[in-house]
């Protein structure tokens, strides 16, 4: 693990971990609010936003692309709501209708606009460009302390770090209103909180994380890390803070492990080339979820309220 690792593997690994953390964080809330598919919808709808931004500005610089993607994500959320109301269908159907339409539009625009020739294509949108993040200015581990070399880090890493910081700050700030309104929205409304605003902030945070992560690591890591680590952590504990910590740990572990396994694993096994790091990250998450679903201490639904429920021994000595 020398210079080659620092140049070729450390940057994608860092980007993957940052992206996974930025997604898993809002994912915990989405899971509890039964909005797990929202990440899916946002991730699919980012593509047309990227293409439109590219067509309008003619560049691939990150800021206009991110703004376009964020706008598309918000359009998707609005579209889902409009279809749900107008078509009188469940949110799942509305989401499925909205995000497939937007994704189809994105693919078509991609082909029509010629953006496909400049590094935007469906496969990259799904799998990301993790492997292309290299740190050419690095000469070895010592470069981590070298200011000049650090400036040569892929810009995506800075963007992802800033996104993670921003998403984490917003969610930390809103943690109690989110907690209270996710548990009992009616009560939150009666006590004069604004659950709709809190929910919107969560959607915006999710969209920001998804957009930033999308460009570096692709849609599949976004969807997987938004849902899988929180779901696995949910099966391991009854405490929210523990769930949050476990999910972040899992997300970071899957991201780091997936980048390394995807990059080196096939070579260790004698295959001629590496496989998609993004896909490997999702598969590792799946393994963790399968283990949690099979053996997690809190995998079963709570027994309370059901006949024969074993309630805690109350001090009033009820049966």
């Amino acid at each position: 693990m020398g210079a080659e690792f620092v140049i070729l593997t450390l940057p994608p690994l860092t980007a993957a971990v940052l992206a996974a953390l930025a997604c898993a964080l809002p994912g915990n809330w989405l899971l509890l609010r039964r909005q797990a598919m929202l990440g899916d919808a946002v991730a699919h709808s980012v593509l047309p936003g990227l293409v439109v931004a590219f067509v309008l500005t003619g560049t691939l610089s990150p800021v206009p692309l991110a703004l376009g993607a964020l706008a598309a994500a918000l359009v998707a959320v609005g579209l889902v709501e409009a279809i749900r109301r107008r078509g009188r269908v469940d949110p799942g159907t509305a989401m499925g209708a909205a995000f497939t339409t937007l994704f189809a539009l994105g693919v078509l625009l991609l082909e029509l606009s010629g953006a496909a020739r400049v590094h935007l294509d469906v496969e990259h949108a799904l799998m990301g460009n993790l492997e292309s993040l290299v740190w050419l200015d690095a000469t070895g581990w010592s470069s981590l302390l070298d200011g000049a070399a650090l400036r040569g880090l892929p810009p995506q890493i800075g963007v992802l770090a800033a996104t993670l910081l921003g998403v984490a700050s917003v969610l930390w700030l809103l943690r109690r209103p989110l907690f209270a309104s996710t548990f009992d929205e009616d009560h939150a409304r009666v006590t004069g909180q604004r659950p709709a605003l809190t929910g919107l902030a969560l959607v915006a945070a999710t969209a920001t994380a998804a957009v930033a992560a999308f460009q570096a690591v692709g849609a599949i890591v976004v969807i997987a890390m938004l849902t899988v680590p929180p779901a696995a952590a949910r099966l391991l504990t009854d405490r929210f803070e523990t769930q949050l910590r476990l999910s972040l740990l899992l997300a970071a572990g899957c991201a780091a492990g997936g980048t390394i396994l995807g990059g080196y694993g096939p070579l260790w096994l004698g295959a001629p080339a590496s496989v998609s790091a993004a896909g490997t990250i999702a598969v590792l998450g799946g393994l963790a979820l399968a283990l949690a679903a099979g053996f997690g201490p809190r995998r079963r639904p709570a027994a309370a309220g059901r006949p024969g429920a074993a309630a805690l021994d109350g001090p009033s000595g009820e049966a």
């Binding site: 499925g96 339409t101 997987a224 993004a278 679903a293």
Partner: protein, 345 residues
């Protein structure tokens, strides 16, 4: 434009015509089967199944190519896709039923993990460079390019099978979709029907992955049903209409793709269906629902008469007419009303 017209009227060559007909048949089947899923509020389960078709495709390719055959034999790929899509369905159901995860989380996690596995296998195939370029990327968003007659025949056969099954089972399926509890109470084998419906969706998914792609095939199940629902509230006619609309979207979308070979078929078919759904919702959205009662609310004095009737004759069948908008005078003879009014003192 003429190329498009030629493709639509099946005059753009024999191969293009068979692709267009195959896509139309697929749209018919998807619209009918998708209606059942939309009415049962389980449309996204099929999205997980569709994404999970990718690892099956790739595994089947590896197996067939590894055994020395052509990795691209469509029936073999479809069999592999069916296997993993079916496994994904079981995984979603197990996660939702046996763990505390809600159904949406079960779908989202299964979908992303299965798709991730598919991407790993896809890149493995690309890395192996076995013989021919795999061309499996076409299964992501669909493609009509390079479809062989046999491929079209395989798609059409599966679509026709679904269509025949839906036609045969339309009554019990409509009952299941409309009111599962009632269907069970009236003695229908709900569990078996549910498995049948899922099997039909699975077949639509594997028939659709070549033309429309794994990412977008769910749109073919949802969008025609969404459009049809705007026009009718009854399950049977909705299935029929969704089938027709899906068929139209498949026909026109595939024709567009045949006329402009650079454009992938999946997005074109999906956008045609989306156009139909969007127009249906815009034209029929508000009128398809029950017309809201526009009569004004009655005032407090009129309300007090109803209260008096409730106290005086608790069992009166007239009380069912008390909806906050009907004055008592509209349902009660004048002299009875007067007697009630006199009771005021």
């Amino acid at each position: 434009m003429t190329a498009l017209l030629q493709a639509i009227v099946l005059q753009a060559g024999h191969n293009a015509a068979s692709v267009v007909l195959g896509a139309a048949l697929l749209g018919l089947a998807a619209g009918a089967a998708g209606s059942v899923m939309v009415l049962r509020r389980r449309a996204l389960v099929s999205d997980a199944m569709a994404h999970a078709a990718l690892p099956g495709l790739a595994a089947a390719f590896l197996l067939m190519a590894g055994l020395g055959g052509s990795g691209r034999w469509l029936p073999g790929l479809m069999a592999g896709a069916a296997l993993t899509a079916g496994l994904a369905l079981l995984a979603v159901e197990a996660l939702a039923a046996r763990t505390r995860l809600p159904a949406d989380a079960a779908i989202a996690t299964t979908l992303s993990v299965a798709f991730g596995l598919g991407l790993v296998l896809l890149t493995l195939i690309q890395g192996l460079r076995w013989g021919e370029p795999a061309g499996l990327e076409g299964f992501l968003v669909g493609s009509t390019a390079g479809m062989l007659r046999a491929d079209v025949a395989a798609v059409a056969a599966v679509a026709a099978l679904v269509l025949a099954a839906v036609a045969l089972l339309r009554r019990p399926l409509a009952l299941l979709a409309f009111d599962e509890g009632h269907a069970a109470a009236s003695g229908l084998p709900v569990r078996l029907l549910d498995r049948m419906a899922m099997l039909l969706v699975l077949l639509v998914v594997i028939a659709g992955i070549r033309l429309v792609g794994v990412v977008l095939v769910v749109a073919l199940l949802i969008l025609p049903a969404l459009a049809a629902r705007a026009w009718t509230r009854r399950a049977g006619p909705m299935m029929a209409l969704a089938a027709v609309l899906g068929g139209a979207a498949g026909w026109v979308g595939a024709a567009l793709s045949a006329a402009a070979p650079g454009l992938p078929a999946g997005p074109l078919v999906v956008l045609c269906a989306a156009l139909l759904a969007g127009l249906s919702l815009l034209l029929r959205g508000p009128t398809a629902r029950r017309r809201p009662d526009r009569r004004p609310l009655i005032d407090a004095a009129e309300g007090a008469l109803w209260t008096r009737l409730r106290l005086k004759e608790p069992r009166s069948p007239l009380l069912e007419r008390d909806d906050g908008r009907t004055p008592l005078g509209a349902v009660l003879p004048a002299e009875t009303l007067e007697a009630l009014r006199q009771g005021r003192s």
